[in-house]
C-alpha cells in the first residue's frame, strides 16, 4: 500500500486539472461531485496506508518512496520522494477525512455561487498542496507544498474578489505568510550549508554527529519557527488569520482551522530531533505560544462577528499547541491538532449553516433563539463548544488536559496562565453559543421568516464531525485512566515526547478537577452575562478588546506606513525628482525652446554617464579600501 | 634621477611616479603659460580682432547648417570601406609566405566585402537623388 502513496496527492491534482480546465463549461454539480470524489479516493488510499503503518512492528521506519530525481547537481541530490510514517499518515487522514466532509458541505453551501467549479478547483489544489507538504521527505518538497497552500489560501480568501476588502485581506495573508516563508527559506539554506542535505532522515541522523557551532541549532530552529509563525498565525504574524475570514466559510473551516494553519505544528513536530537540541528556542516557542493563546482569547471575548470569534479562538488554540511544543510535548501538540481539526471544523461549518440561514448575516447581535429553528445545527454546535471548552468525555478535554498536565510538569506559573486561557475559551465559546442559539431573536422580521434548517449535505458533515469531536479523544486517554496512550505509541517511532512528565495520580486528578470545575463556572457566568446583554457601545478595556488591542493599527503605523513612505520617497525624490526631474526639467525647457531632441538627449545621457563615472569612482575607492 | 631609476625596479604604485610627475608638469606648464601671457602681454581690443578668423576669408553665415543625411551616409560608407581596404596592406607584405591558404582567406574576405557593397547598392544608399 505504501508504494501507492503517490495516488494520495494524485487524485486531488486530477480533480484540480479537470475542474480548473473546464470550469467555464462544466455544470456546477459535476464540479462538486468530481472535487469531492477526488478527495474521497485519496481518503481511501490514506486509510489503507494508515493501517499498514499501524501494523508495522514497533520501531520500524520505512525508507522514503522516491518518485523521480528532482535536483541533481554536484554533491547535492534532492529526490522528489514521499515519507510514509506515523506522523504523515496521521496528517493524511486528517486532511483527506475532514477535507472530504468539507467538500461535501461545500456542494450545498456554494451552490448559489456562479464560480462554484472554480472554487472546487482551488479546493482540490489546496488539498494537493497540503498533501505534498506533509508527504515530502525533505524540506524542499515541504516548502513547495508550503507555498502551494499559501497560494490557494490567497486565492480562496479573495474568492469573492469583487469586494475590495476581501482582496486586501487576501493580500495581507499572502504578505504575512511571505515574511514567515523567508524565515523558512533561510533555515533551509542554513541546513543545506551546515549539513549538505535537506532530507529529513539524513539531516536527523547527521544532527548528533556533525560538528557545528552550538548556536547553529538555535539559528536553524529559530528560522523554522519564524516560518511556522507566519503559517500558523502566531504573534507577531497572526493578524492575517482573522482577516482571512473573508473567504467562504467552508474554506475557513478547512484551511484556516483544520489543516493549513497546523502546518507549522507539523513542521516543528517533524523536526523534533532538531528542537530537542535547541532548548532556548523551545522556551521561546512556549512563551510565544502562551502569549498568543492569551492575547487571542481576550480579543475573542468582545467580538461580535460569529466567524471572527471562531478565528481568534483558532489563533488561541494554535497558541496552545505551540505551548505544548515549547514544553517538549510534541505528541500532545499533534493530538490537539487532531481533536482541534474535528471540533473547529465542526464549529466553522455550524457557523456557516447559521450564516446560510440568516441570509449572510454574521453579526451575533442580530441573532438569538436560532435553536428553535435549526435543531441539528444547534445540537452539533453545542457538542463543538463542549469539546473546545474541555468538558470531560469530549475530545477537547483529553488533548487540552494533556497539554495542561505537560505544562504543569514544566512550570506551575505557566500552568496558571494557560488555565486562564482555557477558561477564557470556555467563556467566549459559550457566550457565542448562548447569543446565537438561545434567548430571543434580535434580527428583522424578514430574516426570522426565512430561518430554516440547512439541507442534508450540510447537516450530515456536521453530525459526522460531531461524532468525531466526541470519539476523537479516546485515542489518548490520560494516564490516570489508562496507562496505554494509543496515539503516543503510534507516533513514537517518529516523534519523541521528551516533555511528558510523569505526574503522580493525585496531582493529575487535582489538575483535572480544578480545570473542569472552573470551566463549568465560566459557562454559568457566560450564561448570566449573555442573558442581560445590552450591546451598548463598549468603553474602556472592553473597547480595546473589541478593537483587537489596536494591533492592526499599530502594524500599520510602525511598519506599513514607514515602508510606503520610504518607497514613495525613493520614487519621488531619488527617481522622479532627482533623476527624472533634473533630466526632464532640462528636457522640457528645451522642448519649448525648439531645438529639442539634440539637447534633451545630451542632457540625459550626460547625466547617465555622470552617474556611471561616479559609480566607477566609488568602486575604485571601494577596492582600494578593500586591498589596504 | 636616482629616485626615478629606483622606481622602475619594483612593482609598486611608486612605478607611476614618473607619470604623475609628467602630468603635473604638463598641466602646470599650460596653466603657467596662460597666466603669464595674460599678465605680460599688452591688451589692445579692436573690432577686427574679435571676429572669427577663417583662413583670411570673411566668414559667411552660420556654420551650423542642416545637412542632407545622405551626406553622412555616404561619408560613413566611405570610411567603412576605406578602413577595410587597410587589411590588404599586411596581406600584400606577406603575400608570398601566406600562399594559397592566404589567398583563399583574402578571397573570402573580398567576397564578404562585395556582399556588403551589393547590399548597399541594392538598398539605394548611394543614389543621391530619389
Amino acid at each position: 500500500m505504501t508504494n501507492l502513496v503517490y495516488l494520495v496527492p494524485l487524485f486531488p491534482l486530477i480533480g484540480f486539472l479537470i475542474n480548473g480546465i473546464f470550469w467555464k463549461k462544466m455544470p456546477k454539480s459535476a464540479g462538486g461531485i468530481i472535487g469531492s470524489l477526488a478527495v474521497l479516493a485519496s481518503f481511501c488510499v490514506s486509510l489503507g496506508i494508515f493501517f499498514e503503518v499501524k501494523s508495522l512492528p514497533e520501531g520500524t521506519v520505512l525508507p522514503p518512496v522516491e518518485l523521480f530525481s528532482f535536483i541533481q547537481s554536484g554533491s547535492l541530490n534532492i529526490p522528489f520522494s514521499f515519507q510514509v510514517d506515523a506522523l504523515s499518515s496521521l496528517f493524511l487522514l486528517i486532511i483527506t477525512g475532514v477535507g472530504f466532509l468539507i467538500h461535501v458541505y461545500s456542494t450545498s453551501y456554494m451552490h448559489e455561487d456562479e464560480g462554484m467549479v472554480k472554487y472546487f478547483a482551488y479546493l482540490n489544489l489546496f488539498v494537493f498542496s497540503m498533501l505534498l507538504l506533509v508527504l515530502g521527505s525533505n524540506y524542499l518538497i515541504m516548502f513547495i507544498g508550503w507555498e502551494g497552500v499559501g497560494l490557494c489560501s490567497y486565492l480562496l480568501i479573495g474568492f469573492w474578489f469583487k469586494n475590495r476588502d476581501y482582496t486586501n485581506a487576501a493580500k495581507k495573508a499572502f504578505v504575512m505568510n511571505r515574511i514567515g516563508d523567508l524565515g523558512f527559506l533561510v533555515g533551509m539554506l542554513l541546513v543545506l550549508l551546515n549539513f549538505g542535505t535537506l532530507s529529513y532522515q539524513e539531516f536527523f541522523n547527521a544532527l548528533p554527529t556533525t560538528q557545528v557551532a552550538g548556536s547553529t541549532y538555535n539559528w536553524i530552529a529559530l528560522c523554522f519557527f519564524i516560518g511556522a509563525m507566519g503559517k500558523s498565525a502566531q504573534i507577531p504574524l497572526y493578524t492575517w488569520l482573522p482577516d482571512a475570514m473573508a473567504g467562504p466559510t467552508p474554506v475557513s473551516a478547512l484551511i484556516h482551522a483544520a489543516t493549513m494553519v497546523t502546518a507549522g505544528i507539523y513542521m516543528i513536530a517533524r523536526s523534533n530531533a532538531l528542537y530537542n537540541l535547541a532548548p532556548a528556542i523551545l522556551d521561546f516557542i512556549a512563551i510565544i505560544g502562551l502569549a498568543t493563546a492569551l492575547l487571542a482569547a481576550t480579543i475573542a471575548i468582545k467580538q461580535y462577528d460569529i466567524k471572527k470569534v471562531l478565528a481568534y479562538s483558532t489563533v488561541s488554540q494554535l497558541g496552545f499547541m505551540f505551548l505544548a511544543i515549547g514544553v517538549g510535548a510534541y505528541t500532545t501538540a499533534v493530538f490537539h491538532v487532531m481533536t482541534h481539526a474535528f471540533f473547529k471544523a465542526l464549529l466553522f461549518l455550524g457557523s456557516g449553516s447559521v450564516i446560510h440561514a440568516m441570509g449572510g448575516e454574521q453579526d451575533i447581535r442580530k441573532m438569538g433563539g436560532l435553536g428553535k429553528h435549526m435543531a441539528i445545527t444547534q445540537g452539533t454546535f453545542l457538542i463543538g463548544c463542549l469539546a473546545i471548552a474541555g468538558i470531560p468525555g469530549f475530545a477537547g478535554f483529553f488533548s487540552k488536559d494533556e497539554i495542561l498536565a505537560a505544562v504543569y510538569g514544566h512550570s506551575p506559573v505557566l500552568f496558571a496562565l494557560a488555565l486562564a486561557g482555557a477558561l477564557m475559551t470556555a467563556f467566549y465559546m459559550f457566550r457565542l453559543y448562548f447569543l446565537t442559539f438561545r434567548g430571543k431573536f434580535r434580527g428583522t422580521h424578514e430574516q426570522e421568516h426565512h430561518l430554516h434548517e440547512s439541507p442534508a449535505a450540510i447537516t450530515i458533515p456536521l453530525v459526522v464531525l460531531a461524532l468525531l469531536s466526541i470519539a476523537g479523544g479516546y485515542v489518548g486517554l490520560p494516564a490516570v485512566i489508562s496507562e496505554h496512550h494509543t496515539l503516543a505509541t503510534y507516533l513514537s517511532p517518529v516523534v519523541s515526547n521528551i516533555g511528558a512528565h510523569h505526574l503522580s495520580h493525585e496531582t493529575e486528578w487535582m489538575l483535572m478537577g480544578i480545570s473542569v470545575s472552573l470551566v463549568l463556572v465560566m459557562i454559568a457566568v457566560a450564561y448570566n452575562v449573555t442573558k442581560k446583554a445590552s450591546f451598548a457601545p463598549n468603553t474602556g478595556i472592553a473597547k480595546v478588546l473589541e478593537n483587537k488591542w489596536y494591533i492592526d493599527e499599530l502594524y500599520d503605523a510602525v511598519i506599513v506606513r514607514p515602508m510606503a513612505a520610504l518607497s514613495r520617497f525613493s520614487d519621488k525624490f531619488v527617481e522622479r525628482a532627482g533623476i527624472d526631474g533634473l533630466v526632464n526639467g532640462v528636457g522640457k525647457t528645451v522642448r519649448w525652446g525648439g531645438d529639442r531632441l539634440r539637447l534633451m538627449q545630451s542632457g540625459q545621457v550626460g547625466f547617465y554617464i555622470f552617474v556611471m563615472v561616479l559609480g566607477m569612482v566609488a568602486l575604485f575607492a571601494f577596492s582600494f579600501i578593500l586591498t589596504n | 634621477m636616482d629616485l626615478l631609476l629606483l622606481a622602475t625596479d619594483q612593482n609598486t604604485p611608486f612605478n607611476y611616479f614618473p607619470i604623475a610627475l609628467q602630468l603635473v608638469v604638463a598641466i602646470g606648464f599650460v596653466i603657467v603659460m596662460m597666466v603669464v601671457t595674460h599678465l605680460l602681454g599688452p591688451k589692445r581690443r579692436t573690432s577686427d580682432k574679435l571676429i572669427n578668423f577663417e583662413s583670411g576669408i570673411p566668414s559667411v553665415g552660420n556654420a551650423r547648417q542642416p545637412m542632407a543625411i545622405k551626406y553622412f551616409l555616404v561619408a560613413i560608407l566611405f570610411v567603412l570601406f576605406d578602413v577595410e581596404v587597410i587589411f590588404f596592406y599586411p596581406y600584400a607584405i606577406n603575400f608570398a609566405e601566406l600562399g594559397w591558404e592566404g589567398f583563399k582567406a583574402v578571397l573570402l574576405f573580398v567576397a564578404f566585402f562585395l556582399c556588403g557593397f551589393i547590399y548597399i547598392v541594392k538598398k539605394g544608399a548611394l543614389e543621391w537623388e530619389e
Binding site: G74, L76, G158, F174, L189, L193, S570, I609, M616 | -
Partner: protein
C-alpha cells in the same frame, strides 16, 4: 564553429532576402525556418563534440567545449521560440523586416563567440557584434521619437562603455603581455599588480553595463521602454544571457585565484542592483517599464553566478538564463497583444481572454520565483551556489527579501487581470497559433520547475 559559420551565412542570406522578397510574411516564415536550421546545426555540433576534448580554433583564440555549445543550443532554441511568439509583431515594426532578422542572426554569432572565446580580442569582437545590432534594433521604429531616442542613448553610452572595456583589456595586456585568458602571467606573481587590478575593475564596470547592473543600469529603463516591444523582449533576454556567460567565463577561468580582490566588489554591485531594480519597479505605472526594472532585478540574481565560483553556479547560469528568457519572452508576447501597456490596460483581461491571462500568470509566477515554476529552481540554484561559497550569506538574505518585494509588482498584474473590472483593448487578434505557442511556452516554464535536471543533461 559550425554554428558561427551557419549563423553568419544565414544573416547574409536574410539581408538579401529583403531585396528580393517584398512580402513580410514570407520573410518571417523564411527567418523562422532558417533559425530552426541553425538550431539543427547547433545540435549537430553538440553531438559531434567530445565531452572531454574542447576544440580550439584560430590559434586558440576560440575554444569551444560542451558547456558553451549546449548554452548556444539552448539560446538558439529560445530564439526560435521568440520568433514563433513575436514573429507577427516584428513584421509590424517597420519596412525592413528582413534586416531585423539578419541582425538577430548576427547577434547570435556574437553570442556564440562570447560563449567560446579564450582571447580578449574575441571577447571584444563578440561584445561589439552583439551590441551594434542592438543599437539599430532599438531605433528601428524610425517614425517614433522614443525609439530613436532609445537608440541614440544606447549607442552613446555603449560607446562610452566600449572605451572602458578596451581600457581594461589594455591594462591587462600591459600587466601580462598576452590576450589569452588562460595565460595571464600576473596571476603567478606573489602580489597583485595594481595595473591588473585596475584592469579587472574596468572589466567589471564594462560587464556591469552590458548586463545592466547598478550603477551602470541607467540606460536600461529608457532603452527598453523606448525600443519596439518585440526587440525589447530579445535584448533583455538572449543578449543579456550572452553578456553573462562572457562575464562568468572570464572571472571564473582567469581571475579565479584573485577572487579575494573582486568578490566583494561584485557583491556590492549585486546588492545595489537588487535594490534599485526591485524598489523602483514597485512604482512603475507601465508594465513594459516595470519589466525593464524587473530585468535589472533579475540581473542582480544572475550576478550570484559570477559571485560564487562553483559547478553549481555554472549550472545555475544555464537554468536561470533559460527560465528567465522563456518567462520574459512569454510576458512580452502577451504584452504585445495589448494596446495599453499600463497596469490599467490589463484590467479584466481574465474575462476577455482567459487563456492569455492564465499563461501570463504562470510567466509572472515564474519571474517572481514561486515553486513549481522554472523561476523558482533558477533562484534556488543561484542562492545555493552563493551559500556553498559561504562568504556572502548577508547578500543571500538580502536577495530573499528583495524576491519578496518582487512578488508585489508581479502580482499587481495578476490582480489587474483577475480582480479588476475593465475591457482591455487588443492591438491584434489572438489566433489559434498564438494560443498554441503560448500554452507550449507556459508548459515549458512548468516543466523547468519540475525537472530542471533536463537542462543539465548535456553539459
Amino acid at each position: 564553429m559550425k554554428a558561427i559559420i551557419a549563423a553568419t551565412i544565414i544573416g547574409v542570406v536574410l539581408m538579401f532576402t529583403g531585396i528580393l522578397v517584398k512580402e513580410k510574411k514570407g520573410i518571417a516564415t523564411l527567418a523562422a525556418i532558417l533559425f530552426f536550421l541553425l538550431l539543427g546545426v547547433n545540435i549537430w555540433e553538440l553531438s559531434t563534440l567530445d565531452a572531454n576534448q574542447p576544440q580550439a580554433f584560430f590559434n586558440n583564440m576560440l575554444r569551444i567545449d560542451r558547456y558553451s555549445v549546449w548554452f548556444n543550443t539552448l539560446m538558439t532554441a529560445c530564439t526560435v521560440l521568440y520568433v514563433m511568439l513575436s514573429g507577427r509583431e516584428i513584421q509590424k515594426v517597420g519596412i525592413h523586416v528582413s534586416d531585423y532578422f539578419a541582425l538577430m542572426s548576427f547577434m547570435l554569432v556574437g553570442l556564440y563567440m562570447l560563449s567560446g572565446y579564450s582571447n580578449m580580442l574575441v571577447l571584444f569582437l563578440g561584445i561589439e557584434i552583439i551590441s551594434i545590432p542592438q543599437y539599430i534594433l532599438a531605433g528601428s521604429d524610425k517614425k517614433n521619437l522614443k525609439s530613436s531616442e532609445a537608440s541614440l542613448k544606447y549607442f552613446l553610452m555603449g560607446a562610452f562603455t566600449t572605451g572602458i572595456l578596451l581600457m581594461g583589456i589594455t591594462l591587462l595586456y600591459g600587466a601580462s603581455g598576452t590576450f589569452d585568458i588562460a595565460r595571464f602571467t600576473f596571476l603567478q606573481a606573489d602580489s597583485l599588480n595594481p595595473m591588473a587590478l585596475c584592469g579587472i575593475i574596468f572589466l567589471i564596470i564594462a560587464f556591469a553595463f552590458k548586463v545592466s547592473a547598478a550603477p551602470m543600469h541607467m540606460w536600461t529603463p529608457d532603452v527598453y521602454d523606448g525600443s519596439p516591444t518585440p526587440f525589447t523582449a530579445f535584448m533583455s533576454t538572449v543578449v543579456k544571457a550572452a553578456a553573462f556567460i562572457a562575464f562568468i567565463k572570464l572571472f571564473h577561468i582567469s581571475f579565479n585565484s584573485l577572487s579575494g580582490h573582486w568578490t566583494m566588489i561584485i557583491a556590492v554591485i549585486t546588492a545595489a542592483t537588487l535594490l534599485v531594480g526591485n524598489v523602483t519597479a514597485v512604482f512603475q505605472q507601465s508594465v513594459k517599464r516595470m519589466m525593464a526594472y524587473s530585468s535589472i532585478a533579475q540581473a542582480g540574481f544572475m550576478l550570484f553566478a559570477v559571485l560564487s565560483i562553483s559547478a553549481t553556479s555554472w549550472q545555475g547560469l544555464i537554468i536561470y538564463a533559460v527560465s528567465y528568457t522563456v518567462a520574459t519572452m512569454g510576458v512580452f508576447a502577451v504584452l504585445m497583444k495589448l494596446k495599453d501597456f499600463t497596469y490599467d490596460g490589463f484590467n479584466g483581461l481574465a474575462k476577455r481572454e482567459p487563456l492569455l491571462a492564465f499563461v501570463m500568470t504562470i510567466f509572472l509566477l515564474s519571474l517572481a520565483g514561486i515553486p513549481l515554476t522554472g523561476g523558482f529552481m533558477a533562484k534556488y540554484f543561484m542562492l545555493t551556489a552563493a551559500v556553498e561559497q559561504g562568504q556572502v550569506l548577508w547578500l543571500v538574505i538580502f536577495a530573499l527579501l528583495m524576491a519578496a518585494i518582487s512578488v508585489y509588482y508581479y502580482f499587481r498584474v495578476i490582480i489587474a487581470m483577475y480582480f479588476k473590472q475593465g475591457s482591455p483593448e487588443m492591438s491584434s487578434p489572438v489566433t489559434a497559433g498564438d494560443r498554441l505557442v503560448l500554452v507550449a511556452t507556459a508548459a515549458l516554464v512548468i516543466l523547468l520547475g519540475v525537472a530542471p535536471g533536463l537542462l543539465l543533461k548535456f553539459i
